[in-house]
């Protein structure tokens, strides 16, 4: 067991290295894309600056607090588009062209291999942008986050990433049944766009969907609340249980789909 885990860590290292090497061939792109990411982050921040010119608080959130949520959105978007999206988009290509056979033949877990096939390290600029946003937010709030809050937030970073990843596996599993889903990634990213505001902004059915069906609230609002020391420990438990459930469900659906996979060539 221990040996197996170690082997997968080394495999992960090799996959990340391969992506980075490919990237180093296109150095200009690296900087251009980094700058673009910052520009896109601005489109999430500017509306907040404009909205909070008219108000002290919106839906129970002050400017500094709302900035924390948007900071988490920028951070998770970086993870989504840097580490999750690229790999899983290539699965869809594998399925369509039939080359998934080659992945399945390799002596390692297929889900692991396809999930780590491709990284886009320039999205790391999102982490820096998010750090700046967090810094500015706490400057406005005029107090530092509590150590306990930071610890909870770090834990939620893990559960949020797991949630995003599991949702993605579920979507990719659909590719085994309906082949043409290239732009489902675009649809998913645009739904995730709603995670940029505190979840109390949404009302009614939408609010229910964003908590339980596509748990956007768990991904960005909860970590922001944790940083503020406002998150109840039961919510922390909900996030943990919820993300584990999604992960298990994703794994079961993935195994089911791969069992049904008939290659395109044979």
């Amino acid at each position: 067991m221990m040996n197996g885990t170690l082997r997968y860590w080394r495999l992960l290292g090799a996959q990340v290295r391969a992506s980075t090497l490919t990237l180093l061939q296109y150095r200009f792109d690296f900087f251009a894309d980094g700058l673009l990411e910052i520009l896109w982050a601005m489109t999430a921040l500017i509306p907040l600056f404009v909205v909070f010119r008219t108000r002290e608080s919106i839906a129970g959130w002050s400017f500094g607090e709302a900035l924390l949520v948007t900071g988490w959105f920028i951070l998770l978007q970086g993870i989504l588009e840097g580490a999750i999206n690229p790999s899983l988009t290539s699965v869809v290509d594998h399925i369509r062209t039939g080359t998934l056979d080659f992945v399945l033949l390799k002596p390692a877990d297929a889900q692991f291999l396809v999930s780590t096939a491709k990284f886009q390290p320039w999205r790391a600029t999102n982490i820096l942008t998010a750090a700046v946003v967090f810094g500015y937010a706490f400057h406005l709030l005029e107090r530092p986050p509590s150590p306990w809050g930071l610890l909870a937030a770090a834990f939620l970073l893990f559960t949020s990433t797991l949630l995003l990843y599991s949702l993605w596996i579920l979507i990719v599993s659909a590719a085994f049944y309906v082949v043409k889903i290239d732009n489902l990634s675009v649809l998913f990213t645009s739904i995730f766009d709603a995670a940029r505001w505190p979840s109390t902004v949404f009302r009614g059915v939408v609010s229910f969907v964003f908590t339980f069906v596509i748990p956007l609230a768990l991904m960005t609002t909860y970590p922001a609340m944790a940083m503020l020391g406002k998150l109840h420990s039961s919510s922390l438990a909900l996030a943990a249980v919820g993300s584990m459930l999604f992960a298990v469900l994703a794994r079961i659906v993935w195994l089911g789909s791969i069992g049904k996979y008939t290659s395109a060539s044979s």
Binding site: M42, T54, L187
Partner: protein, 267 residues
């Protein structure tokens, strides 16, 4: 090819392009559903207006504004920059150049022919819009509708020409998709897509007035939601068509000079 011959070819071109849009209907639908941003912005602004109105915008005005934004975005969209980048890189642009019709026209027809497909999503949204603003708020003055139609046409032309100009940049560089991304980010901020232009802080508003973006979405939306008196509306329409002329000139220049550099692979 003479003008008359081009005119004769247009109906068939439209038919072919429309058939293509129908063939890829599922993908097309997903693309359209992906424009969630007006609704996301609506959620934020509604939360703001729930407590007290902002300027002349109450919750109802925001609903009306952002639903109109959604519809106008559908009606004025174009994706030629991506098509051109692909065709220049793969050399398939050569096939288009062989045809006796200017590529600008064939690209335009392809984009316009997809409009009936867009209505599938835009029409229900329009019904929702009508329902939300109430029958008494619909402009009755035909002149206003004419101005709206003109603004939509101008908005689409600016979008299309910008796409074509940036697509033509693919002749000069490896890929101009990133230029398009920068354009899109600026368009998001300055067009009124995220924030109604009249709610901009003064400095941002002054900049927006000089840029083409607000004429792509903001102006048509403002005209249909009755934000302007006649004088301002006409002045803004004038500004929009000046931008159409500027974009047309820039596009033709970029295309002509770029085409000289084009060497199709295998050709």
């Amino acid at each position: 090819m003479s003008l008359a011959a081009t005119a004769r070819a247009l109906p068939s071109l439209f038919k072919v392009s429309f058939a293509e849009a129908v063939a890829y209907r599922a993908e097309f639908l997903i693309w359209m559903l992906s424009t969630t941003m007006p609704l996301i912005m609506l959620a934020l602004w509604s939360a703001v207006a729930r407590e007290a109105p902002v300027g002349r915008f109450g919750q109802k005005e925001f609903v009306s504004y952002f639903l109109a934004t959604f519809i106008v975005r559908q009606l004025t969209s174009s994706w030629v920059a991506w098509q051109m980048n692909y065709e220049v890189r793969h050399g398939t642009l050569a096939l288009r150049l062989l045809r006796p019709i200017h590529p600008m026209l064939t690209f335009a027809v392809e984009n316009i022919a997809a409009q009936p497909m867009r209505l599938v999503v835009a029409l229900p949204m329009a019904v929702l819009w009508l329902w939300s603003v109430g029958a008494d708020q619909i402009p009755r003055n035909p002149a206003r509708w004419a101005a709206f139609g003109l603004a939509i046409l101008g908005g689409w032309l600016i979008t299309f020409l910008a796409n074509f100009a940036i697509g033509s940049l693919a002749f000069y560089m490896e890929s101009s998709i990133k230029v398009m991304d920068v354009w899109l980010a600026l368009y998001f901020v300055f067009s009124g897509y995220l924030i109604p232009v009249e709610l901009f802080p003064p400095a941002l508003r002054a900049i927006a007035g000089w840029l083409p973006f607000r004429y792509q979405i903001g102006l048509p939306v403002e005209l249909i939601t009755s934000a302007h008196d006649r004088g301002t509306a006409l002045a803004l329409l004038g500004g929009q068509w000046i931008w159409v002329a500027v974009m047309l000139t820039a596009t033709i220049l970029l295309w002509r000079r770029g085409l000289e550099r084009f060497a199709a692979y295998g050709g």
